[in-house]
């Protein structure tokens, strides 16, 4: 037995089934939400996607006054009366406590999503005019517009990039470790990404949260972190195998390695989560969903590297050894 100077606080191998069940509990609600979304949404996407991937225009106006939720309906009706088709309205309230250091006196942001407005059309001006009637001094603070063909292309390119990143990671890990370690790391990434996407699918259904270009960046960050975490554990397993493979079973080595790296895994995630929480509470309103995606991903990434990935390689090792012992 490797003496780690303290009792093992987690038992990956012994309680294997516990971690399998826990993983399922974490993932299943999200998967259900994704299936439900794919069936019910008109574009059959598992998530509520923003204009980056569907095409469309978002106009954001800053207002001095505080807005109520009833303003959403009011604004929608007002815009529909001037012929804007299916506008999607969202209201972001800017926390006053965050305002001290900034010069702006914007208290609410009203965000209007419509179909793609081309440069030739004056629909954006019409919307601005209409809002000027309804509110005092709305200030147009941001416009983003993505053409319909562009959206599909962005989506395709993001997927290609992520797929290639996966292949690169598998190749490197197979070279430095073993193919089954690489596979476990990739499954770990899948696990983490599935969890975050699942939660955002649920948030999309419940609170209309939409994913945008930044969401892909958040997912990439989660992937980076997830592999990072997993490698640290695997590296320890690799090292311990070198010294102890004759004295201990593979399962014991996995358990010991996880416990040896446990403090590090938790501390690293904690420090990153500290920065992210700071960004969540004190950062800008517009990046809040982005930060939330990273918080969820990093928390689940720590879980998966400790329990999920190590459990997998132990499980496979058991399976591959069975014919020999039988």
């Amino acid at each position: 037995m490797i003496n780690t100077g303290r009792k093992h606080s987690v038992h990956v191998v012994k309680y294997r089934w516990v971690w399998m069940i826990l993983t399922s509990i974490l993932l299943i609600p999200g998967i259900i939400a994704m299936i439900y979304s794919s069936v019910t949404y008109s574009n059959h996407a598992p998530l509520k996607v923003g204009i980056d991937y569907t095409g469309g225009t978002i106009l954001q106006y800053g207002l001095e006054q505080k807005l109520e939720n009833s303003d959403v309906t009011k604004t929608r009706e007002s815009l529909e009366s001037i012929g804007v088709e299916n506008p999607y309205i969202q209201i972001l309230n800017v926390n006053n406590a965050q305002q001290e250091n900034t010069k702006s006196n914007i208290n609410s942001i009203i965000s209007i999503r419509t179909k793609f407005i081309s440069e030739k059309s004056d629909e954006a001006d019409k919307i601005t005019e209409q809002l000027k009637k309804d509110y005092t001094n709305p200030e147009l603070i941001s416009v983003s517009s993505v053409g319909p063909t562009m959206g599909k292309e962005l989506f395709k390119n993001s997927l290609i990039a992520v797929a290639l990143a996966f292949l690169g990671i598998i190749a490197y890990l197979s070279f430095r470790f073993r193919f089954d370690y690489a596979l476990a790391a990739i499954l770990g990434i899948f696990h983490d990404v599935l969890f975050v996407v699942g939660i955002f699918s649920i948030l999309g259904l419940l609170y209309n949260v939409q994913i945008d270009g930044l969401f892909i960046t958040a997912i990439l960050t989660v992937i980076g972190f997830s592999v990072h975490d997993t490698i640290v554990v695997f590296d320890r397993i690799r090292e311990n195998l070198r010294y102890y493979s004759k004295k201990m079973s593979f399962g014991e080595i996995v358990d010991a390695s996880v416990n040896q790296t446990l403090t590090r895994s938790i501390n690293t995630s904690l420090t990153t989560l500290i920065t992210l929480f700071a960004l969540y509470f004190w950062g800008g309103v517009t990046t809040r969903d982005f930060v939330l995606a990273m918080i969820l991903g990093i928390a689940i990434g720590t879980y998966s590297s400790i329990f999920f990935c190590s459990m997998l390689i132990d499980f496979w090792n058991d399976k591959s050894k069975q014919p020999v012992s039988a």
Binding site: T149, Y172, T217
Partner: protein, 435 residues
């Protein structure tokens, strides 16, 4: 020990150079932080140009650059992305709608002659004389005080124009700008000398109208029409707000992380914090020197790389603590702690670099910014977390036995209790273990 002191001064020099660079060079902030417009323009084929060739694209880019420069805004960017798209960045634009209209106008000037369709209805036929035959255009007034656009043809254009007017004596010649009939004067005699005027028909041109036309003609027509397929505009207020908030959040987050490191790792924690500050200085100096344009996604990459830099230190300290628990002396514990942590730091950082490279090559501009800052961060963290921390640890703790375990956040009774790693002879030599 001599090497260690040399290394220390090298680190000091790097810090000084970085600080000077940070002080001297301006920070390049992305449009989502300073406010401005990012447009993507897509070239469209026409009847005459059925394929967008690289040559067409470079002419389109040139024409668009001319126009963007005419907006009188500093630090604009026009660059080709993909096969048929241009990326245009305009910071701090005052009248975006006007700017967009100005950029998107094809500005095709065409001279046409009378003709007839097969069924007999009169129409205008192309003559082959277009805006490409111009050398320049000037805003001026005619004898009655109306605003007119004076045209000067280049030598070939002058020849064509002379022949055309000779042919058309007694007939009307029409001038079309972007498909719109501007005027259709009757040609009284052949015009030599290569000069002509466009008047705004019966009502005449308004000043702005004529000026705009002159500007567009001088900037050159677009070889093919182009439309805006993507736009991202952020007002200056929102940008400033994002910067102020990111700064505040960054400072709070970093301070909390530093506090955590000191509470958990004690003296090594302080060293890690110093290494982290040095890391930030070097990275910012690099951002400014390269220069890397900082966007919101780029800031995310930066924060993640801080996480990874701290992680390297945590890995090292955890290993060092294990070695100390096993009863090693300080010098050996620090050395073997670093050495054992190195493989996992190296492998995990390599996968990050692989991912970043792929994303940088394939990603959209948002993703590119993220990948670049993260990759740079990881590279710098390999230096700061390993070289800087190791150097300071050795300088501060020296080679003796660990007399005050509290300095590492260890209890006395933990020492000599645990972890019996079996080293090979080679490793013993490398870590300086004496049996």
């Amino acid at each position: 020990m001599k090497n260690k002191i040399l290394m220390f001064w090298f680190i000091v020099a790097v810090v000084i150079v970085s600080s000077i660079l940070i002080f001297v060079k301006p920070t390049k902030l992305g449009l989502d932080l300073v406010g401005g417009s990012r447009l993507i323009l897509e070239a469209e084929t026409t009847d005459t140009i059925a394929k967008i060739t690289p040559d067409v694209m470079s002419r389109l880019q040139f024409a668009i650059e001319q126009r963007v420069n005419k907006l009188g805004v500093a630090e604009t960017v026009v660059q080709q992305v993909g096969e048929k798209r241009l990326l245009i960045e305009i910071p701090n634009v005052t009248d975006l709608k006007e700017a967009k209209a100005f950029i998107g106008e094809t500005a095709q000037l065409e001279f046409k002659r009378e003709g007839k369709l097969p069924d007999g209805t009169p129409t205008w036929e192309s003559t082959g004389l277009t805006g490409r035959d111009l050398s320049k255009s000037i805003l001026s007034t005619d004898s009655s005080g109306q605003w007119v656009v004076s045209l000067e043809f280049n030598s070939e254009g002058a020849k064509k124009f002379a022949e055309l007017t000779k042919e058309l004596v007694g007939q009307q010649m029409a001038i079309f700008f972007d498909g719109e009939l501007q005027s259709a004067p009757r040609v009284n005699e052949a015009i030599y000398g290569g000069k002509a005027q466009i008047s705004g028909g019966e009502s005449g041109f308004a000043y702005e109208e004529a000026e705009r036309m002159v500007n567009l003609l001088n900037a050159g027509a677009l070889p093919v029409p182009a439309k805006i397929v993507e736009e991202n505009t952020v007002g200056p207020t929102l940008g400033a707000d994002s910067v102020a908030k990111s700064k505040k959040a960054g400072i709070i987050g970093l301070s909390a992380v530093m506090l955590f490191m000191i509470l958990f790792y004690r003296v090594p924690g302080i060293i890690a914090d110093i290494a982290l500050v040095i890391y930030s200085l070097i990275l910012f100096a690099l951002f400014k020197t390269i220069p890397v344009t900082l966007t919101l996604a780029g800031i995310a990459g930066f924060i993640l790389s801080i996480g990874m830099a701290v992680d390297a230190n945590i890995l090292i300290f955890e290993r060092t603590k294990e070695e100390l628990r096993a009863g090693r002396n300080l010098f050996t514990a620090i050395n073997s702690g670093f050495d054992r942590a190195f493989t996992s730091i190296f492998d995990s950082n390599m996968t990050t670099v692989i991912t970043c490279t792929i994303l940088y090559l394939l990603g959209t501009s948002i993703v590119k910014g993220f990948a670049l800052t993260l990759a740079l961060g990881v590279a710098v963290s390999m230096f700061s977390a390993i070289t800087v921390t190791k150097n300071f640890m050795h300088l501060i703790f020296g080679t003796g036995e660990l007399k005050h375990p509290g300095l590492f956040g260890l209890r006395k009774d933990e020492i000599g209790q645990s972890y019996e790693a079996v080293e090979t002879k080679r490793e013993k030599a490398r870590f300086g273990i004496l049996d």
